[in-house]
């Protein structure tokens, strides 16, 4: 069988999709999480429950939504609830199996920064889009999956700002905030359990919580992964190589993107 050609974004999306089981309830962010989750729904997980932050529960879009508020999410959902209800009754209550997030930056403890880089909070060098729903998705979900492209810019030793907490130990020396008890409260879920990138798979060291390389995509080298990581990357002894995309997986992903482009009038996502 000839080897199939695919991009690093395609294998990242497929590697993430494979992990989503048919029985899961997944709170899904727009972009790569949504692409991976809908790919899973089109392949092996037709009954996976996708929740978008707009209040659409059990959405089954035929194409990838441009925003959490796309009309097709409402039309195909099992139910539509208000945003306050979604966060209280559905997320905060601990009903979500997987909070599936993208990120602008992460650190080695799985903390996420989507707020600012450089300068001060009031006057940042780079202003990022902000928290969105992530601070609570990251802590109320039973587990959290993070998907993003790996580079020294996105995988940093220490974040300027923790928007959404992972294992937080990177923050252990930070002063406790007196007027909130946020820092001393436990998360409700297991926290981030996997980071899926265009180069490989990282999972937390069970003792330290430090994200450690557990898998590598075919074609990527360990040196390449290290060079794209802003901390001294540790590697699990039995490093797995991600099985390459199957023809069925690739066809389903490309079909999803083609449908999406046709519906929205142009390309909307990296692939």
């Amino acid at each position: 069988m000839p080897e199939l050609a695919y991009t690093s974004i395609e294998i990242m999306t497929i590697a993430a999709a494979r992990r989503l089981a048919n029985s899961m309830v997944c709170f899904v962010g727009i972009g790569m999480p949504s692409a991976a989750a809908n790919l899973a729904r089109n392949l092996h997980a037709p009954d996976v429950v996708l929740i978008y932050e707009s209040g659409t529960i059990g959405a089954k879009p035929s194409v990838l939504p441009l925003s959490i508020g796309d009309g097709e999410l409402a039309e195909t959902a099992d139910g539509i609830v208000s945003v306050p209800e979604l966060f209280r009754y559905w997320l905060q209550s601990g009903r979500v199996d997987v909070g599936f997030l993208g990120a602008a930056q992460i650190d080695k403890y799985g903390n996420i920064n989507t707020t600012m880089i450089g300068g001060t909070y009031a006057s940042p060098q780079v202003r990022l889009p902000g928290a969105g729903g992530a601070p609570e998705i990251a802590t109320a979900s039973k587990e959290v999956w993070i998907i993003l492209k790996q580079s020294k810019r996105t995988f940093v030793e220490k974040l300027h700002f923790i928007t959404s907490a992972g294992f937080r130990q990177g923050q252990s020396s930070a002063p406790k905030s007196a007027d909130t008890a946020a820092d001393c409260r436990p998360t409700r879920g297991r926290g981030p359990t996997i980071v899926i990138t265009d180069l490989g798979i990282l999972i937390p060291d069970p003792t330290t919580g430090e994200f450690t390389l557990s898998g590598i995509h075919p074609g990527a080298s360990l040196e390449q992964v290290r060079a794209a990581t802003g901390w001294d990357l540790k590697v699990f002894p039995h490093l797995e190589t991600t099985p390459p995309p199957t023809a069925v997986e690739l066809a389903a992903l490309r079909d999803l993107h083609a449908r999406t482009d046709a519906a929205h009038g142009s390309s909307i996502a990296e692939r």
Binding site: E53, S54, G55, T56, L66, S67, G69, D70, G71, L73, A74, I80, V81, S82, V83, P84, L86, F87, R88, L91, Q92, N111, T115, P124, Q125, V126, R127, P129, G130, A131, G132, G133, A134, P135, E136, T139, A140, F161, I162, T163, S164, A165, G166, R168, Q171, S177, D179, T180, A181, A182, D183, C184, R185, P186, T187, R188, H264, G265, S266, I268
Partner: protein, 223 residues
């Protein structure tokens, strides 16, 4: 004029960031902007508290996040039964809420269909409420259990067909994705942004004028 404006969620569907917002924060153009930042769950809770006549709301928020360090509207409370510490957030009571909906009847009862977001809470939290609708009808004919905002909590209703533009109105028309993409380019640069604003907003009389100032082919697709 307001000296405090709050934005619940800023973003451009399918495109990404808001360049003008970022320019204001990073470079203070056209004026420096102060921001008070909350997560979506928190904002939803703040509107709920406002709508409920409570001074604050309780949530499990910001666990391990740096956000509360920079925001004095976020604090904590202790559960009197379990001793657990939870996030407290200050109620939000806007001076005015402006929402767009599908229909109003002649009394001013408003029907919202599709994704509800926090529109009902924003309406019920605000001191004054303006609703623009696709059409004013004799009878709402709202399905059982639909989301209806009764007239007596609405200050003004205005019929503005296409008023969701460039977004969509469920059951009426689709979002203009081409506009959203074009906006990314228009808004990226201060000069093209100002030029666009002059041509389509400042130099047009009203919403109808804005509509007719746009290139042909926009706003023609139907749901």
């Amino acid at each position: 004029m307001c000296n405090q404006t709050r934005i619940f969620l800023g973003g451009n569907p399918g495109v990404g960031s808001l360049h003008r917002f970022r320019d204001a924060i990073q470079h203070g153009w056209p004026i420096p902007l102060e921001i008070e930042e909350h997560s979506h769950a928190d904002m939803a809770a703040r509107y709920q508290a406002g709508a409920s006549g409570l001074p604050f709301a309780v949530l499990r928020g910001y666990v391990g996040s740096d956000i509360p360090k920079y925001n004095r509207s976020i604090s904590s409370v202790v559960c009197p039964f379990t001793g657990e510490v939870l996030t407290a957030t200050r109620a939000l009571i806007p001076d005015v809420a402006i929402i767009h909906a599908q229909k109003a009847d002649r009394k001013g009862n408003v029907l919202i269909q599709g994704i509800l977001g926090i529109q009902k809470e924003a309406v019920l939290a605000s001191k004054r409420v303006i609703v623009t609708v696709e059409e004013i009808v004799d009878r709402l004919a709202a399905p059982l259990n639909a989301c209806v905002i009764p007239s007596w909590v609405v200050t003004y209703v205005s019929e503005v067909p296409g008023g969701a533009y460039p977004s969509y109105a469920h059951g009426y028309y689709q979002r203009d994705n081409g506009f959203c993409r074009a906006w990314d380019e228009i808004s990226r640069d201060r000069v093209t942004f100002l030029q666009w604003m002059r041509e389509h907003i400042l130099d047009t009389e009203d919403f109808a004028g804005f509509r007719s100032s746009l290139p042909q082919g926009t706003m023609v697709s139907n749901a």
